[in-house]
Structures are given as C-alpha cells and as structure tokens.
C-alpha cells in the first residue's frame, strides 16, 4: 500500500485566487442561454471540464473491467480504480487507502454502517444519537435499526440560532449511548458542527462517531485522523464530481467489524455450497462491477479542488454567504434561519418571505435565471423544529459571485411585486 501523505505535506494555499476566472472551468455557465445564477450547489454542485474529461478519457481510452482481467486494459482499469481510491484517501488524510469504501452515495454508506455494523451490536435499551438537523439519510437508517432492535433513537436538540444544544442532550455521552451519527454541516442552516469536540468527548467513553460529511468534504479542509471519527461518509456529486458515487471512510477496526450489505461478485474469497468467506477490505464491501468512471471522476474532482485549495474555497464561499446574508437581511419581510455569518457557518442560507410560499419564490427566481431550492430539503424533523413546512435555500460554491447574489435579491423583490406582498 502506497503511503498516504500527511497534512504537513499538503500544498500551501496560494496567496490569492482569481475565483472569477475559475468560472470558465465550468462549461455550464457558457452553455446557458440566459445568465445562470446557480445557487443550488448544496443539492448538487456543477462540474468542471476536467472532471467530465476524466470520465470521457476513461470510457474512450482506458475502459476495462476492474479486478477481473489479466490483459493490459483490465490491469490499467484496475490500477486507475485503486489510484482513485488513494487520491480520495489522501484528500481526507486517511491512514490507508483500504479505509475508503466506494459506495453509490453517502446515503448508501450510512445504510451500510446502520445495517452492516450497528445492527450487529445494538441491544434493547441501547441508544443511537442523531441531531434535529439531520438529513433524512442520516436519520431514517438509524430510526429503522433502533426500531428493529428495541433501541432508542435520541435527538440532540438545537438552540434558537440553529446550533447544537449539547447541554440539553442528556445522556449523549452516557452509558447507553452506542453511536453518535451527526452531520458536519447542516444542509439547511449551514451550521458547522463542532465535530472535533464531540468526537473527543465521545472517545473518552468509547462511543463511536459517524460523520455525515456530504456538505463538508470538498468545501473545507478535512482530516479524518485529526477529527478522529470512526466513520465518515461523502458524496462525489456535492463536491463537483459525478453522480452515482460516494464513499465510506472507516477506521480499520470498525470496518473489520462491519458485515457487507451487498453480496455478489468481487467481494468474496471463497464460495462453497455450504459456506463462503469474504475478500479483504475494502473489496468485501464492493460487490458487483465497480463504478470505474465514477471513481475516476470523483478523484479528478478532489484533485481539482485541492489544486485551488480547500481553505481558499472555504473562505471564498463564506465571504459570499456573508454578503448574501447581509443583502437578504435588508429585504422586508424575510426570515433567515441558522446561525448567520461566522466561524461556525458555511455557504448555505435558508429563508422564507412573509406571505410567499417558497415554491412560488423558487419558480419566480427560476424565471430570473436564479436556481434555488424550495422544500423541506429532506429534513422534516428540522422543519418541525423551525415550525415551517418548507423554506427557500440558496447555497454557494466556488463558481458563484456577487452578481448571483444581486440576481437573487432582485428575484425576491420581483416575487414580492408579483405576488402582491404588502
């Protein structure tokens, strides 16, 4: 196994990045007939040409079956697949590439831990903790495994600004707590949770922590050895990579204690009529022909973002979100949710306008070329906490600029005019 680079070996962040010129890396903006103000990156991010080219290169010049052939094309395909795994291990500073399991999505990765790990050890009366701000993907798998095992799903409540209220989470680090599954960044509120702090306290009680990093990987520097979490899940398409692929990172002992969710080709050592044995990690978790082009595109996205610098991207996006928050705050009748600009806030803003349904707002925004999301964002427990059925959401990424914010504000004003806000 090739050694993984340490944090200290990572390239330094350049002094200044011309983010405006980076927009040209994303062909969709030039291809769009009318100006495209894409403020829905938290749903799915746009793709730079290098990611698309890496996928096209794979299919046109380097395509073959992975881990299933002895001829050169099959061998190079297998090597490309494993090189992608190493790139992603490096990207989050995993100690070894075998700790990265490719999945279809972050959702699948969480389900793998819920059914392949938690379901094996959970006892009646045990507790699994999530927070009130979780995406359904980090809520439903735990709800199901708790229900089937007579265990209890506990909720970390939120304070009035949308931060975790750890003081009110009595028993979080208690004797019954078997797992804390928590998002690093809220996909609705933009809150950045104090994962390091939670893991440090949980570790003292030997409570494992799973981090849902779907909104944080590729958006900010992330080091799993530094975080010291037991599991972490990510999704390629939210970090400028292709759809249909994500990964599960796990500490070696945790993955060793996890049973595969899918059985089939490629994940076995020996198959007999009466019994079978599994392959080594991570192959045992990757039944079926692997998603080669997806893995290559995923790695290309990681390389692209790393080339710009995660710290620079985080700063840029936070700056845009701060500016947007400032402009939106002055809109009459707006209600903004979440902690607002600051160290613990990312590039995601949710809001509602008095008397205007978020769907109407999003539709009128669309007519202005502004792409925002409206709905419950797969976070119904959070909507219940906020006392609303849905919100509008604007989310930023490295390709956004000040014009996008101005267009959003203009669209909101137009929605108020059209729908007769008084």
């Amino acid at each position: 196994m090739e050694p993984v680079r340490r944090k200290s070996d990572l390239p330094q962040v350049p002094a200044a990045i011309d983010f405006e010129s980076l927009r040209a890396d994303f062909p969709i903006f030039a291809a769009s007939r009318q100006p495209l103000h894409y403020l829905d990156s938290a749903a799915s991010a746009q793709k730079p040409a290098c990611v698309v080219e890496s996928i096209s290169q794979c299919y046109n010049h380097g395509y073959g079956p992975v881990h299933r052939g002895l001829y050169p094309l099959a061998e190079s395909a297998s090597e490309d697949y494993e090189a992608s795994r190493r790139t992603l291990a490096n990207f989050i500073n995993a100690a070894g590439a075998e700790q990265i399991v490719f999945t279809r999505s972050a959702t699948e990765a969480i389900n793998l831990v819920a059914q392949g790990w938690a379901a094996r050890y959970l006892q009646p009366g045990d507790e699994i903790w999530v927070s009130q701000m979780e995406h359904h993907a980090n809520f439903l798998p735990w709800q199901r495994v708790c229900t089937s095992h007579g265990s209890r799903l506990r909720i970390i409540p939120l304070d009035s600004e949308g931060r975790l209220d750890l003081e009110q989470a009595e028993g979080l680090f208690g004797q019954k707590s078997r797992l804390i599954a928590i998002t690093q960044v809220s996909n609705v509120l933009g809150t950045i949770n104090p994962i390091g702090e939670i893991v440090a306290t949980a570790k003292q009680q030997n409570i494992p922590v799973l981090v849902d990093a779907a909104q944080s990987v590729g958006h900010m520097p992330l080091d799993v050895q530094d975080l010291d979490c037991d599991f972490l899940v990510a999704s390629a398409h939210k970090m400028c990579g292709p759809t249909g692929i994500g990964f599960l990172y796990g500490k070696t002992d945790r993955l060793a204690a996890t049973e595969p969710l899918l059985l089939g080709g490629g994940m076995v050592d020996e198959v007999n009529i009466d019994n079978s044995s599994w392959a080594e990690m991570p192959a045992r978790f990757e039944a079926g022909s692997p998603n080669l082009a997806g893995a290559i595109g995923f790695a290309a996205a990681a390389d692209y973002l790393r080339g710009i610098g995660l710290q620079a991207i985080e700063q840029r996006v936070k700056e845009l979100a701060r500016l947007a928050y400032e402009k939106l705050s002055s809109v009459d009748g707006i209600r903004l949710y979440g902690p607002g600009p600051g160290l613990d806030s990312s590039g995601i803003l949710s809001f509602n306008i008095d008397g205007i349904h978020p769907h109407d707002l999003a539709q009128i925004a669309a007519e202005h070329g502004v792409a925002i999301r409206a709905g419950h964002h797969c976070c119904q427990p959070l909507m219940q906490r906020l006392g609303v059925s849905s919100t509008a959401r604007a989310s930023f990424n490295l390709y956004n600029n000040e014009q996008d914010i101005a267009a959003l504000v203009a669209a909101i004003q137009d929605a108020k005019r059209i729908l007769g806000y008084r």
Partner: protein, 148 residues
C-alpha cells in the same frame, strides 16, 4: 421576467381574490388533500342536490398555483351534474399527465396550461381536484348506503 411566466394575470387574480373560499360548515361532504412535501393543505366541500353540485367551496393554505387552481375549480364545477364534474376532473388529470393533450378541459382553465411545463408543480395544481374527486366518492358512498 420571461413571457412564458407561470404567473399569468388570471392566476394571480384567483390567488389574490379567491372565489368560494372560506367556511365549509354548511357543506354536505368535505375532503382534505395534502402534500407534505411542500406543506400544502386544501379542504374541498360540496353541497349537492338531485345529482347536481350546487356549491363547491374550499379552504386551506398552499402556494399561489395550488390556491388559484382550487379557486378556478370551484367556479368551473359549481352547477355541474356529478358525472360532468367527474369527467372534468378526469380531463384535468389527463391534461397534466399527457404532454400531447394540448387542449384545456375548459377554456376558463387555460391559464393553468403554462404549469404543464413544470412537472414538479403538477401536484400543486391537482391537489384540490383530487380532494373534489374524493368528495364525489363520499357522496356516492352515502347514496349507495341510503339505498341499501
């Protein structure tokens, strides 16, 4: 704003000045439709006599499309025979499920046509119509029970 905006004057008029909206206490049958995905909730009530829909009313909350569609529906269906109302509901559903079916089921509903280009909002348009369909089921069930 593009010329093919969803927000036609007719729709906005129904949204701002909804017809037949309010209390449903005097209705013979009331059914509720909801879309938890966006929080829309509509109740449709009908009063009928001798197989004719004398009154169709609604109340509830929702987006402008949902409320405008409900308002337009009450105007188009009041006074219809129950079977005619059933047929109109069916044509409305077909209009929104078949892209080739260009003609609106009723000229007074034509303004809803722009929303056919936005499949994500089909449910907003049809929520009240589905609730009306259920009130008709309820009336028929009542009728069948009284003749048993």
């Amino acid at each position: 704003m593009s010329s093919d905006s969803v927000y036609k004057a007719v729709l906005l008029d129904h949204f701002h000045n909804p017809r037949n909206k309010g209390e449903l206490d005097a209705m013979d049958m009331v059914k509720r439709g909801s879309n938890p995905r966006c929080g829309d909730e509509i109740e449709v009530g009908i009063a009928s006599s001798n197989g004719v829909l004398e009154t169709v009313r609604f109340r509830g909350r929702g987006c402008s499309i949902c409320l405008a569609s409900a308002s337009m529906m009450t105007e188009c269906t009041s006074g219809l025979e129950l079977q005619q109302a059933r047929q109109l509901i069916a044509r409305m559903q077909q209009w929104f499920s078949n892209p080739d079916n260009e003609a609106p089921p009723n000229e007074n509903l034509a303004a809803l046509g722009t929303i056919r280009q936005h499949p994500a909002r089909k449910k907003c348009v049809l929520l009240a119509w589905q609730a009306l369909d259920e009130t008709l089921d309820g009336i028929e069930d009542q009728f069948a029970a009284s003749n048993r």
